[in-house]
């Protein structure tokens, strides 16, 4: 029953979710879906707790065994638990917890993302070459869209933004839709395999 029971539970859950999403089921009469959603949320909370314990265990072991870059593990465990305890005492919106968020995470996150501007500029000079027909098409498209997202395009040639809008609306939309339909069909096939019990990799390897 180690594999059969989880498979039966998975199939039952999948049927309820699919029925509720694809067919109109008045929620007032059928609260099953809400109950499942609550269960999922509960599992989410538990998984977060499990992640906290697991991460601590891995990094404490890294420090004890002096693995490469073990110093960073000390920082990780220290900050993770300090913030966790702080947030438990005063919630994540508490004054000190918010101060940490505003003055540590926010500037670090923004800075890392802002650095992209510098690297992309450098890469545009070194890597963007019209070596082949495909590369030339990509280069021209990028050039038009890039200048079209700022007022500069229209200042150089009036109507530049219209060209950019056409690229985004016609070739881009067509390509995106084709890719998306392919992805969703693949996802549907994979989901059907799980629902029918044909795909059991998520149950883990056999011992």
């Amino acid at each position: 029953m180690r594999k059969e029971l989880p498979t039966i539970i998975c199939i039952l859950m999948a049927v309820v979710v699919v029925v509720s999403m694809y067919f109109y089921v008045p929620n007032e009469k059928w609260k099953l879906m809400d109950m499942f959603d609550n269960w999922y949320n509960l599992l989410y909370y538990l998984a977060m707790g499990l992640g906290l314990i697991n991460l601590t265990r891995i990094h404490v072991m890294a420090v004890v065994k002096r693995r490469p870059n073990w110093v960073y593990s000390i920082w990780l465990v220290l900050f993770m638990w300090a913030y966790f305890i702080l947030a438990m005492i005063q919630t994540v919106d508490g004054p000190q917890a918010d101060w940490v968020f505003q003055n540590f995470l926010t500037p670090i996150d923004s800075t890392v993302f802002a650095l992209l501007a510098f690297y992309i500029t450098s890469a545009s000079f070194r890597a963007f070459r019209a070596r082949t027909l495909e590369a030339t098409l990509m280069l021209l498209t990028a050039f038009i869209v890039l200048l079209g997202t700022s007022p500069l395009g229209d200042l150089i040639i009036p109507g530049w933004t219209t060209a950019k809008d056409w690229i985004l609306s016609v070739p881009n939309t067509g390509g995106q839709r084709g890719i998306q339909i392919g992805i969703y069909l693949g996802g549907l096939a994979a989901a059907l395999r799980v629902m029918l019990g044909l795909e059991r990799a998520y149950l883990g390897g056999a011992r």
Partner: protein, 272 residues
């Protein structure tokens, strides 16, 4: 030409830095043309009756706040002018107090009241599943409390709005930096419950969302920083985005110049 081929990339970094610094000191105030996508969101909000509930999904973190904060500011400003009521909710724990601080400032400026004109549900774990639960019961999905842990029954707005559904919510705008975000709102709320929506997108994701604008599933889209500048122009209050567009314009121009220069060097030195 050889010198350009071997150019140390730190010189390029320096030029980018100087260009961005110049516009902070001397703004260029370049003209911004409003695109139909941004106009779509503006028109939808403009035509909502006073008192309607606008649902704002703040699904982003600090990394893209530079693009999405000006969008949020302009939309909230427009909504308060139209006397709309706002509910905010985030599926991203890294959202923290980013959006809240913006709305809080505007709440005071427009002399609105928390609980009556705006309620912030804050971050609730569960992602897409919790979003679906929001469509059945706001109270259940939000564990009955707002971001401060205060009961939703304390606030007139959340006593009235029972779920993320019609007729309670008139319009949704999601500001996503990825998943979960606007695509989940579209699949779970707009397509199933019929609540109309729009999106405030980061420039990087504009191409992904275009298809939903064309199909009419999004009533409009605010595209990146440029979209924010367009919205500021529409509400007649040029602000952060209009100023930041100067920097983006110069940086884009420089990137364009480097692409051309890089290819000139490539073709002139190819045979050697």
């Amino acid at each position: 030409m050889r010198a350009l081929v071997d150019l140390d990339r730190r010189w390029i970094f320096l030029v980018v830095f100087i260009l961005l610094a110049i516009v902070v000191i001397w703004p260029l105030n370049l003209p911004v043309r409003v695109t139909p996508m941004t106009q779509g969101i503006y028109n939808y909000i403009e035509n909502l009756p006073a008192g309607s509930v606008l649902w704002l999904g703040l699904d982003y973190g600090p990394s893209v706040a530079g693009e999405l904060n000006p969008q949020l500011t302009a939309v909230v400003e427009h909504a308060f002018r139209k006397n709309l009521r706002i509910i905010t909710y985030t599926m991203w724990q890294t959202q923290g107090t980013i959006g809240r601080n913006i709305i809080d400032k505007l709440l005071k400026e427009y002399k609105k009241e928390y609980g009556t004109d705006w309620v912030d549900l804050g971050f609730k774990p569960g992602g897409i599943t919790n979003l679906r639960l929001m469509t059945s019961s706001l109270k259940e999905a939000a564990a009955g409390v707002d971001y401060q842990g205060k009961s939703l029954d304390e606030f007139p707005l959340t006593r009235e709005v029972k779920a993320l559904d019609k007729p309670y919510v008139a319009f949704i705008i999601d500001f996503p930096a990825g998943t979960p975000g606007a695509a989940e709102y579209l699949a779970i709320v707009t397509e199933v419950k019929g609540v109309p929506m729009g999106v405030g997108q980061i420039q990087m994701s504009v191409a992904d969302s275009m298809q939903f604008v064309h199909s009419g599933q999004y009533k409009g889209m605010i595209p990146g920083l440029r979209g924010a500048a367009e919205y500021e122009k529409l509400i007649g209050k040029p602000g952060t985005a209009v100023r930041a567009m100067d920097g983006q314009t110069l940086a884009a121009g420089f990137v364009g110049l480097l692409i051309v220069l890089g290819n000139v060097i490539y073709f002139s030195t190819r045979g050697r």
